[in-house]
């Protein structure tokens, strides 16, 4: 059985860094899902071809013994660099030039000018949409400049499929430290001191959770890494697993050491095939390197990790449901207590942490608890990743210390709110939905609130997994509430009454409002059921399912009232509440709308303004799409 020592790790690190130095240039192409979808693999191939065409020596994997003087270029793919909206991203090292929206056609020029001649291709640089300035390096771009990328740090810089590169970035030294130089109590204590709280939802102290599991006496314990990131609008776990899988593995190893477990599972959403592939490869490589397996670092302890693919159920993000799923059963949550710490997977004490939590762990061990807890607020330590999406200029994955305000995130990092056509507007901000279907919304009044666990709970929202959707003034909040309610009611496992029946009825009440059949009583009943579902549901999914509805009713009460009292949707998103009319000033009586109307609701003489019979009109919008004079109002 192969085992590896600290000395070997150091040797690998030294050799790797040496060989990196012998390389003339490095080109890192972002191979995160976002960039791949934008064609980054084609860019990669084009670069490969271009390098060969110039006669330079190309390395996709760095060899340990390279001694000649030929110009060498190292080309590799990386995990998600976060700035998905600008992909495909290409970085040139050591200059740290970052090119955005690169196309395969640009490859030859990049090689000829930036690799052979050290020139910068201006047109491929990022342009600030507000100032029009071009930025050369990542850190010149406001999107990156204002972040603290600790957990995401190596994501986008290391080759996720190369374990030696991870080791060269000090990888697995923390694992070696806990296995050989720390007791289980030390590890747990360090985590408690760091103040790290679960990044997946509840925000429970990771160190305390480990202690609770550590003290359980059992012949077998498990560590589960929860990568069932189901929040529609969050993708940090995906990026971590794809971009730096070894960090996740190292986190799992440290957790296992802390609770004395020797088996781990990584439960990954089915929708993340690349994450599954990279995690599997990373585990294999770690096994081959002797980092995982038997007698780890000579400590006499063993650790094995398997990857389990989910099968499409959001509820499996709930820990008891996730364990049921690993056991091959329907993913239905069980009542807690007993907690997984006492009776978890296969009835054995189990620690479940989410990917982001575990990815932070090696950093804490490496740099110390006080290094970590210098970031953040008094109750929420460290940094948090957010998936910044929606009506914002710079969509992507960001990482900021707890306590950062919404204003900094939306305007400074995010580059401002966009309208429906994607243009940045000064006064377009309406709300952000934070924490996905479990969270709530924050409005203009909360824009300077320091974001942390407790402040968000107090505002009826939650950190959750960190989905942060920006919404502009053209968004209907009743529709948003309905969207999330539809999601949770679809994803409810159907076990407990409040969640199964309650979310269904809440959806139907929201539909009544949207269809124009709601009354004040509808809103009241919605709140009454919502509170019951929140209080009485069995698991976290149900307990938080009403949050988006309750939160929007509270913060946008006028909008709800307008829907039920005036039967109007100010943003025109609710089809049934639309009042479709013809602007008699603009209508020239071309008759095309009347001819196309599928229900014959439009009438009028040729060359005379037409009218719409609102009793017949189904608000389908065909008239609007055929009118060449913008005469149809209400869409």
């Amino acid at each position: 059985m192969k085992t590896i020592t600290k000395a070997t790790l150091e040797l690998i690190r030294e050799h790797y860094n040496k060989s990196i130095k012998s390389v003339h240039k490095r080109i890192i192409v972002c191979a995160g899902t976002g960039c791949i979808a934008n064609g980054s693999m084609l860019v990669y191939e084009a670069l490969e071809k271009a390098i060969k065409a110039t006669g330079m020596e190309l390395f996709v994997e760095l060899e340990l013994d390279v001694h000649d003087d030929k110009k060498k270029v190292h080309l590799n793919g990386s995990g998600c660099q976060g700035f998905c909206a600008q992909g495909p991203l290409v970085n040139i090292l050591p200059e740290e030039t970052m090119y955005v929206k690169v196309k395969p056609e640009d490859a030859l020029e990049i090689i000829e000018r930036s690799i052979l001649k050290d020139e910068v291709i201006e047109r491929l640089l990022y342009v600030n949409p507000v100032t029009g300035e071009r930025s050369r390096g990542q850190l010149d771009i406001p999107f990156y400049k204002l972040q603290n990328r600790l957990v995401l740090g190596e994501c986008g810089h290391v080759d996720p499929e190369n374990i030696r590169e991870y080791i060269a970035h000090n990888g697995y030294f923390a694992a070696e430290k806990v296995f050989n130089h720390m007791t289980d109590v030390d590890v747990c204590d360090t985590l408690v001191d760091s103040g790290l709280r679960g990044r997946g939802g509840g925000g429970f102290s990771t160190g305390k959770k480990w202690h609770l599991t550590r003290v359980e006496k059992s012949d077998k314990k498990y560590v589960i890494c929860n990568g069932d990131e189901g929040d529609p609008g969050a993708f940090m776990d995906r990026s971590l697993m794809e971009g730096n899988p070894h960090r996740v593995i190292e986190g799992i190893m440290i957790a296992a050491r802390a609770i004395n477990a020797n088996e781990g599972y990584v439960y990954v959403r089915l929708e993340y095939p690349l994450a599954v592939k990279r995690m599997r490869k990373a585990i294999e490589d770690a096994m081959d390197a002797g980092i995982l397996g038997e007698n780890i670092f000579g400590s006499g302890k063993s650790m094995h990790i398997s990857v389990m693919e989910g099968a499409g159920a959001f509820v499996c993000g709930e820990e008891t449901a996730l364990m049921a799923s690993i056991e091959g059963k329907r993913g239905m949550p069980m009542p807690k207590p007993p907690f997984p710490a006492q009776k978890g997977l296969f009835g054995k004490p189990t620690v479940i942490n989410n990917v982001e939590t575990l990815a932070a762990v090696p950093l804490i061990i490496r740099n110390g608890a006080s290094w970590f807890n210098q970031y953040g607020t008094s109750t929420s330590k460290g940094t948090k990743t957010f998936a910044l999406t929606g009506h914002v200029a710079n969509t992507g994955l960001i990482e900021v210390p707890f306590g950062t305000t919404l204003r900094e995130i939306v305007y400074n990092i995010g580059g401002g709110v966009t309208d429906n056509d994607g243009k940045v507007t000064g006064d377009g901000f309406k709300a952000v939905q934070i924490g996905g279907p479990s969270g709530g919304c924050l409005t203009e009044t909360d824009i300077d609130l320091p974001l942390d666990y407790d402040n968000l709970i107090a505002k009826g929202a939650m950190v959750g997994s960190g989905g942060l959707v920006v919404m502009n003034t053209q968004t209907c909040m009743v529709q948003i509430a309905r969207f999330f309610m539809n999601f949770t009611q679809n994803e409810s496992c159907g076990k407990c009454v409040p969640c199964r029946e309650g979310t269904k009825q809440m959806l139907s009440l929201l539909d009544e409002i949207i269809e124009g059949n709601g009354t004040i009583e509808t809103i009241e009943l919605l709140q009454e059921v919502g509170k019951c579902v929140k209080k009485a549901s069995l698991c976290g999914l149900g307990k938080t399912a009403p949050s988006p509805v309750l939160s929007t009713i509270e913060k946008f009460n006028d909008e709800y009232l307008q829907h039920v009292l005036k039967k109007r949707c100010a943003t025109n998103n609710c089809k049934s509440l639309r009042n479709v009319t013809i602007d008699i000033e603009k209508c020239i009586g071309c008759t095309s709308c009347a001819r196309k109307c599928p229900v014959g609701a439009i009438s009028g003489e040729k060359k005379q303004p037409h009218v719409i019979n609102s009793d017949l009109c189904t608000k389908c919008g065909v008239c609007n799409s055929v009118c060449k004079f913008n005469a149809i109002l209400g869409f």
């Binding site: 009542p335 807690k336 207590p337 407990c496 269904k504 139907s508 019951c532 069995l538």
Partner: protein
């Protein structure tokens, strides 16, 4: 003993004993919290969220899932708790087919009861219940998914108590339903019809299949002569439908009401239970003395018999060949009553009243139907009879008790305790003791076989003979024991199996009880009946002796075998499941290979692979007259030809091949090819 502390429940201090959860402890404070999904004998599910209470420091919690701890302060009736319960009920009602007046569970429905108790008078939500088809295809149980409230009690009963798992949750979220695989009927799956799902169902989603109309038709048909047999367990439970406490014996009133309803004669199944004792005990003694196949399993429980057929075909030779008391009654009655009563055999209608839903299935088994005439025509469940009595308006509680008709209404106590777990064993021991030792048994109470433990090992000495006995109730316990026996890890002489927990007294046809002690009460009722009777040993029953003298001859005689014994065979668990291996469109020859468990063990897979390859490689599709048209030979995988002990089994068109080998299968295939035509170039 160390004190485990106290819990403050609504201001009352309640000491913690060994309560499994807070809900049980709250019951000790004489508060019955509403719940649908908590049953003390099933695992905790925590889904209905009605037993919620406010626990200081923990907030609103479902008490079924909380461990009581010293110092807890619990409020079971705050305004918040009340509101949650009411909304939950409202939500359930909005998704429930509300046809209460015509529902057979009306007045014994937990949902109805709780809605009334909690004052839910209006449902403010949209009615969303589905309109799914009702499954009434099986002979035993009707399943109406539209009434189901998804508490999961039935699913857990089937899985945990019986280890059958014929029903489970299907789909997810608001689409969830409970049912068998592939939306099949209970008729077509591994359901053993024990009815434990029925007895835990809080609403009318699972009910025994009524045969009341057929019975009324027979009663009202002047040509028919209708006789009833009443199983032991009925007499200690039927009263519950009339507000009488569980366990109170109402035998006489049942007889009176049957007579008043128009039954011509009323007999007692306990009579044939006595008969069963003699036949089964003799079979056992003979096996034991001759060193034949042991252990001998009892076979009077039809749920167990079907279970054994499906899961343990290799143990079927160990089942006693005795028919169950119900079926023995049927054959004896058909044999002697027409002559005795002067009626035409075809006009005799035999109705049995059973605590059991599986008995309905048993009566319709082909083994028990001769020339189109069933040994037992109709099986009423206890609750079914109660509803018939209620329909007539007969005031059950006011009736004067009457006696059974003779001779088939005379029994000893041994025949009555059959309804309890351990009862059959006790009755058999009362006979075997005297038979083996030649001594008279004075104290007939053999208490070591009684009790509620799931598997009871009893070693007993009868003279020089050591008898190793096991008494098992619930099929999950039976499965544990059978697995051990099959693995050769356990040796017994005699094993009594009852499918229902506690025996027939807790059968699926009994009135559904919400009394937490109903099993113990009914059980005690039967032991009391035994005490009250004059005779306690089957061999002392004078009418049984008479029956042997006049009709049967000796115990175990050929006539006794003809009337009282039968054989069971392997049985498939699910119907219509064929795996296409070749996907031929219009085959002339179809080869079906069984892929069931038993055949798999005996190498069916390899056989199938060889055959498929052989068919393809040798172009067997080119048969003269059909050459080149399309594939002529198809291979399919199927599940169970119900000949498990003779596996691997395969079928080539209509010819079945047992103990199949590749060579034998090839030979059979060629014979079939010759019959249809000759192979091209062969």
């Amino acid at each position: 003993m160390e004190t485990k502390g106290n819990v403050n429940i609504d201001g009352i201090i309640v000491p913690i004993d060994n309560e499994k959860n807070l809900l049980e402890l709250i019951r000790k404070a004489d508060i019955e919290l509403p719940t649908f999904c908590y049953h003390s004998h099933l695992s905790i599910y925590g889904a209905c969220r009605l037993c919620v209470s406010d626990i200081e420091g923990m907030g609103i919690q479902a008490t079924c899932s909380i461990q009581p701890r010293d110092g807890m302060i619990v409020r079971t009736n705050t305004s918040e708790v009340r509101q949650i319960r009411k909304i939950n009920l409202e939500l359930i009602l909005a998704n429930h087919k509300i046809d209460c007046p015509s529902c057979s569970r009306s007045s014994n429905c937990k949902l109805q009861d709780l809605a009334r108790r909690l004052g839910v008078t209006k449902v403010r939500f949209k009615q969303t219940n589905s309109h799914l088809p009702i499954d009434d295809c099986s002979n035993s149980i009707i399943h109406d998914p539209n009434k189901c409230i998804l508490c999961g009690d039935c699913v857990r009963a089937c899985k945990e108590i019986q280890s059958v798992g014929a029903i489970d949750f299907v789909n997810r979220g608001s689409q969830t339903i409970v049912g068998p695989a592939f939306n099949k009927s209970l008729r077509d799956v591994e359901c053993v019809y024990c009815g434990q799902c029925v007895s835990v169902c809080p609403v009318g989603a699972l009910v025994p299949k009524p045969e009341t109309e057929e019975v009324w038709d027979a009663i009202h048909n002047p040509e028919k002569y209708v006789v009833a047999q009443i199983a032991p367990a009925v007499r200690v439970a039927l009263g519950e439908s009339f507000g009488i406490e569980a366990g109170v014996i109402t035998t006489g009133q049942i007889v009176t009401s049957l007579k008043r309803m128009g039954f011509n004669k009323v007999y007692d199944t306990s009579f044939t239970a006595d008969l069963t004792v003699l036949e089964e005990a003799s079979e056992f003694i003979s096996r034991k003395l001759k060193g034949e196949l042991l252990p001998q399993f009892t076979s009077c429980c039809p749920g167990w018999v079907k279970f054994a057929e499906q899961y343990y075909p290799e143990l079927l030779p160990n089942l006693s060949t005795c028919k169950s008391p119900q079926q023995m009654f049927g054959s004896v009655a058909r044999e002697i009553l027409p002559k005795m009563l002067g009626i035409k055999p075809e006009n005799l209608v035999i109705v049995s009243i059973m605590p059991c839903t599986a008995k309905k299935f048993e009566a319709k088994r082909e083994e028990f139907i001769h020339n189109g005439l069933a040994d037992v025509d109709h099986v009423l469940s206890t609750e079914g009879l109660a509803r018939m009595i209620q329909e007539t308006g007969i005031q059950f509680n006011k009736l004067k008790p009457e006696s059974f008709d003779l001779p088939l209404g005379f029994k000893t106590g041994a025949g009555v305790i059959f309804g309890n777990t351990g009862g059959v064993s006790e009755a058999v021991l009362r006979y075997a003791y005297e038979k083996i030792t030649g001594e008279t048994l004075i104290d007939t109470d053999i208490k070591i076989v009684r009790g509620m433990e799931g598997i009871r090992d009893v070693n007993i000495k009868l003279g020089d003979l050591n008898i190793k006995l096991a008494i098992v109730h619930t099929l999950s316990n039976a499965r544990k024991l059978c697995d051990k026996i099959v693995a050769g890890e356990a040796n017994y002489d005699l094993i009594e199996v009852m499918a229902c927990p506690g025996g027939c007294i807790a059968g699926g046809g009994q009135p559904v009880s919400f009394d937490t002690d109903f099993r113990m009460k009914r059980m005690q009722g039967l032991y009391n009946t035994d005490k009250q009777l004059e005779l306690h040993k089957s061999q002392d029953n004078p009418y049984i002796k008479e029956l042997y003298k006049t009709t049967l001859g000796e115990i175990g005689s050929p006539k006794a075998h003809e009337l009282l014994h039968t054989h069971y065979h392997g049985r498939k668990r699910i119907t219509d499941q064929v795996i296409n291996i070749r996907n031929t469109v219009h085959p002339k020859i179809e080869i079906y290979v069984c892929l069931g468990t038993n055949c798999y063990i005996r190498g069916a897979h390899e056989l199938m692979k060889q055959l498929t390859q052989y068919v393809t490689e040798n172009k067997l599709e080119d048969i003269i007259g059909f050459e080149g048209q399309e594939d002529m030979v198809d291979v399919k995988g199927t599940f169970c030809f119900e000949r498990c002990e003779k596996g691997p089994v395969l079928r080539v068109n209509e010819h079945i091949l047992e103990h199949a080998t590749f060579e034998k299968a090839k030979a059979l295939l060629y014979k079939e090819i010759q019959r249809i035509g000759l192979l091209v170039n062969k």
